[in-house]
């Protein structure tokens, strides 16, 4: 197991270097519009002396590969550079935003687990029933609805129309996190963010459950005299859950990297929205730093998912140390 984890950690290095290299290529002069020095200077008058000073400070006068060296060097010391726009360290900016992104990610994962898994189980156990048809139809719709459109639809209904109909007494907030952050601000963004994955979870759960219910070991369990409930929720579910847990785990990694669309629609002050704003403002260090951190998080969460596999499925043992 230890060897396996070490190997996986080593495999992260080329991925990491590849991502940073690709982002750096975008800095080849003329490839993207906008002059970084102009951005840093802002309203001040740009004199040749000031330009030289800024170039010197940000290593912008060096060739690109030297700049890359400086960047990776800084990265290894936990320094992601400084924002052109805000004159603050990128680590600080992201550090402010990540807790908000995590909050939203965990809320969305909770929706996926509770709604998706339950809907999938009901759908499978009551195959071809009204509930099964409902789940199958609604998941088909959900996977094909664009997230931002669903978000706006929810905002319109629960935020605006509901407020009108009830004379302003019942509605859900449609932007921000609340001050101090509260639960009601989380509801709509979490549902929006979870929508597509919840639909997928329900579908995977349903098909896995149906497959498990047809296995020989289910007949064995029935022949033992177990109740149908024990057969379904113990013998079938534990087998059916393995792929579902994988999917949710991978999705958790993706969600923790920030949700650009959902965060933007709901003005949620998370990493996704920060990266989106930084792209608009051509604030390159923030974009770069944000993407790098997200990549690292996704890689680590995926590793954790793979490790937790072994706990669920005894047939999987990493590193060949099993029998």
């Amino acid at each position: 197991m230890f060897k396996y984890v070490m190997r996986r950690l080593f495999q992260m290095i080329p991925v990491f270097l590849g991502v940073t290299l690709m982002l750096f290529v975008l800095r080849i002069p003329g490839l993207l519009p906008g002059d970084p020095i102009q951005l840093i200077v802002g309203e001040r008058e740009l004199t040749p002396a000031l330009r030289a000073e800024i170039e010197e400070k940000n290593h912008l006068n060096e060739p690109l590969h030297i700049q890359y060296g400086y960047y990776v060097g800084g990265l290894l010391q936990g320094d992601l550079g400084e924002s052109y726009q805000k004159s603050r360290p990128v680590t600080e900016i992201l550090g402010d935003k990540f807790p908000n992104t995590f909050r939203l990610a965990f809320a969305a994962i909770l929706v996926e687990i509770i709604v998706g898994v339950l809907a999938g189980i009901i759908s499978a156990v009551k195959q071809y029933s009204f509930w099964d048809v409902l789940v199958t139809l609604s998941t088909s719709v959900l996977v094909s609805v664009p997230v931002f459109w669903l978000g706006m639809l929810l905002q319109m209904f629960f935020g605006i129309k509901l407020k009108e109909w009830t004379g302003g007494s019942v509605f859900l907030p449609i932007s921000g996190m609340g001050n101090p952050p509260d639960f009601v601000h989380l509801i709509l963004p979490a549902i929006t963010l979870a929508s597509v994955s919840t639909a997928y979870v329900a579908r995977i759960m349903r098909s896995q459950m149906l497959e498990a219910m047809g296995q020989d070991y289910i007949r064995t369990a029935m022949a033992k005299g177990l109740t149908e409930r024990a057969v379904v929720f113990k013998h079938a579910l534990k087998n059916a859950l393995i792929p579902v847990v994988t999917y949710i785990g991978i999705d958790l990694g993706a969600l923790m990297g920030g949700a650009i669309l959902t965060e933007s629609v709901f003005s949620w002050p998370g990493v996704g929205r920060e990266i989106y704003l930084a792209v608009l403002q051509r604030d390159w260090p923030v974009v770069m730093g944000g993407v790098v951190v997200v990549v690292v998080i996704v890689m680590f969460v995926n590793l954790l998912v793979d490790i937790s596999y072994a706990a669920l499925d005894p047939r999987i043992r990493y590193g060949g140390a099993a029998e």
């Binding site: 020989d216 007949r219 064995t220 022949a223 033992k224 013998h235 005894p314």
Partner: protein, 338 residues
Amino acid sequence: MALLEVTNLKTHFTTRDGVVRAVDGVSFSVEEGHTLAIVGESGSGKSVTALSLMRLIPDPPGKIIDGSIILRGDDVLKMDASTVRAMRGDRIAMIFQDPMTSLNPVFRVGFQIGEALRIHKGLSRKDAAARAVEMLDLVGIPNPAERARDYPHQFSGGMRQRAMIAMALACDPDVLIADEPTTALDVTIQAQILELMIELQQRKGTAIIMITHDLGVVADMADDVMVMYAGKQVEYGSAHDVFYQPLHPYTWGLLDSLPRHDIDEKGTLLPIEGQPPSLIDVPSGCAFHPRCPYAQDRCVKESPELREITAGHQAACHFAGEDGFVRGEAVPVTGEVA
């Protein structure tokens, strides 16, 4: 009264193409400590008969539409759902054909054996685990205490079937149904598993219903034999009678298609021509007539009743028991049957 008495059991399946008469009026009985073998080709209704005894027929599409199954005076078909559950695994237990897929891959072997003990005997988790180790020891698994903590994939095929037997016998059932328990195993392992079953039967007095298409297994184990064809029994009697004085041409066919290395070394096998019939569209009269070399007009029109030919030996053939209608002597009817 026998330990288990089955009378006129009918299990049908409703499919889009029509009603499948998988089991269509079968009667038999099993005594304590005895072994009944149910023999027939694939699709003859053997396994459905077994699953019917456990009330494990998936409904829909299946349904037991008639008959009675009396186990020590209780009619299994009249039991409510919870009584049936209490019976399964406790009074009637079953082992299945493929030990590779019959154990749940994500639970430890010991846990799976102990499960029945916990529901039926009310044992604690700990006591059930200890008893599971004893059972593994009983079925000849070395290091049972260690092995009980293994997962099924860590067992070989033969060991898994031993574990299945341990699981089935954990609660000391009256009847053990074994649905082709050796089909998926190597020949050497097959013999070991059969020996184990015989040994445990002698020790515990369990009645065994052995479902098989392997007549060698029947010869080793069975006291009585029931031959099934197209959902009906065509011959039923003691193993001795069925082997040495078989009455039904289908049984003759089964015996002829068995390799005999004791007599003619180079003798060719005589397969039964044709395929088993569709159970939706069973041939008129005797279901076996399209494949029977002795079929006459009567066989096409008239369905033969199962009748006692000699004491305790029944067959469903119009000509069974007639002079000269004996295996190896009867003359095949040539030409097209009208």
